[in-house]
């Protein structure tokens, strides 16, 4: 069950001081399909209404491939990977 322990940061800051790739969500187009949470369960969980809670840290390198898949497979194209 998703809790607010994994906090989402819908940061609009492009100058993120931490290095690494971040998974960003456009909350205005997300419809709560939930595909991302299945593909990237270690980084994304779903709240009680089916919307993703994305971990507020860069995506670990071993999950990058799954993260890219989540970005491509999101039916609403709501996800973006930022940074290298």
């Amino acid at each position: 069950m998703a809790t607010s322990a994994v906090n989402n940061s819908n940061s609009t800051s492009v100058n993120d001081p931490t290095t690494g790739t971040r998974l960003l969500l456009d909350p205005t187009v997300c419809r709560g399909h939930g595909v991302c949470a299945e593909l990237l369960a270690e980084h994304i969980s779903l709240d009680e209404w089916g919307y993703p809670i994305i971990a507020d840290r860069p995506v670990p390198p071993d999950l990058l491939r799954d993260a890219r898949r989540a970005v491509t497979d999101c039916p609403a194209l709501a996800l973006r990977l930022e940074g290298r």
Partner: protein
């Protein structure tokens, strides 16, 4: 003298923005009082003055004005400037009052800001209020006839929505869409209206800019405190009297402003409907300043101060406001759209006398789920109100559990103002 002590006697008697005598100014009167806009002759010069003056935004965020202008000026392209007069907040009247009293001061500031960032286009964004619009259109016309404006000004109307004044919603509306926020990885100062760097500045801030341009930074600093200089407009809601807009300055004692000695209150709402409730004993000891308020978890916001009478139920007042805020969700982001109505409903249950079961825990859980998960800060601000209400009115909550309520005689006389009329039903209500 610490930086928080006022340098001059402050109170309800400063007349920088709001003209002395309480009468709206005509164009001629404005020109007699302040002269024409204090153009600098080159881009960027005003920004130095603003830095020296320490002017911060008066729209709620208190962001240093010079930083914002510098960002837009440095972003390249053809900047656009917007005077944001869509206060949205039902309890705030300062922006419309200022626009009614001396629109030329705001328009002067808009021109100076345009010059400072190198803009070629300017907008004034206001709610559809017939009287303000009339004054504004007249003022723009007069200036056009007198060739007072260097950059053409267009008035754009905003729908009567709470979040219509949010920065990205302003840009969205001016571009022709509905006044709903947009998510963007890039700030509006870099990419806004039509992709151009856009300065969205509150009308009061622009009015201060006009005065700083005319009278200088040192003059500006003769009011307020060292850290929070200048005057500010505030909307006061006091028991048994109409709402008032006053011009005051940081450092003023809340006890004095709110007349707490003569008008007893149980709590004070600071900052509007995205603000914070404070117990009256705490509020009475504080000056009007962000530095002091932040220590209490509050902030000035758009300068709304409401002193709740002792015979009202703070929980019920808050519940009404929450229902309104939930109805004002843009409905774009899942957490806000799902969370706010549920929170409002649970809060309304707690606001009625009677035993509650899971409502408090539900509200706490949902509050954690809605915060910082939207495209704007509507859920965050609303949760601030919720949390402070549950803290300040904790005693009232226990009273409700036992079946009684302090406001039992006042069911039909709400204290906090909300607009009359239906909630937004379709897309037209957002455009």
């Amino acid at each position: 003298m610490t930086s928080q002590q006022p340098q001059t006697a402050v109170g309800n008697n400063l007349n920088r923005l709001l003209p002395y005598g309480g009468q709206p100014l005509s164009f001629d009167q404005h020109l007699t009082l302040h002269g024409p806009p204090a153009y600098r002759g080159a881009a960027g010069r005003l920004i130095d003055d603003l830095r020296a003056a320490g002017l911060t935004g008066r729209g709620g965020a208190a962001f240093p004005a010079h930083v914002k202008l510098a960002a837009v000026a440095g972003a390249g392209g053809r900047p656009v400037v917007v005077a944001n007069g869509a206060e949205g907040e039902p309890a705030a009247h300062k922006d419309k009052t200022l626009l009614y009293a001396d629109p030329h001061l705001v328009l002067d500031g808009l021109q100076l800001a345009a010059e400072a960032v190198g803009a070629r286009q300017a907008f004034v964004y206001v709610h559809r209020d017939a009287r303000v619009l009339k004054r504004l259109h007249e003022a723009v016309e007069q200036r056009r006839a007198a060739d007072a404006d260097r950059v053409p000004v267009t008035v754009v109307e905003a729908p009567p929505r709470f979040i219509a004044g949010q920065e990205s919603a302003v840009v969205h509306r001016i571009e022709g869409g509905p006044a709903v926020p947009r998510y963007s990885p890039v700030r509006v100062t870099e990419c806004g209206i039509g992709g151009a760097p856009t300065l969205v500045q509150n009308v009061e801030t622009l009015a201060h800019m006009a005065l700083i341009g005319r009278y200088g930074a040192s003059w500006f600093r003769t009011a307020g405190t060292f850290d929070e200089p200048g005057t500010m407009l505030a909307t006061l809601h006091l028991p048994d009297t109409h709402a008032q807009v006053i011009e005051t300055a940081p450092g003023a004692a809340l006890h004095h402003l709110l007349d707490l000695g003569r008008r007893p209150a149980q709590a004070v709402l600071v900052g509007g409907y995205h603000g914070t409730w404070l117990p009256v004993e705490r509020a009475a000891a504080l000056p009007l300043s962000n530095a002091a308020l932040r220590a209490e978890g509050a902030s000035l916001g758009a300068g709304v101060l409401a002193a709740l009478p002792v015979d009202r139920c703070g929980l019920r007042e808050t519940a009404r406001v929450l229902a309104y805020l939930a109805g004002e969700s843009a409905g774009q982001c899942g957490p806000c759209l799902n969370g706010l109505p549920r929170i409002a409903h649970a809060f309304a249950v707690m606001a009625e006398p009677g035993a509650h079961r899971t409502e408090r825990a539900d509200v706490a859980r949902w509050a954690g789920l809605v915060e910082r998960r939207g495209a704007c800060h509507h859920p965050d601000g609303s949760m601030r109100l919720v949390r402070s209400a549950l803290t300040v009115f904790e005693e009232e909550l226990w009273r409700h559990e036992r079946g009684s309520c302090v406001g039992v005689g006042n069911r039909t006389r709400p204290f906090l103002p909300l607009p009359a009329g239906a909630n937004p039903h379709d897309d037209e209500d957002w455009s």
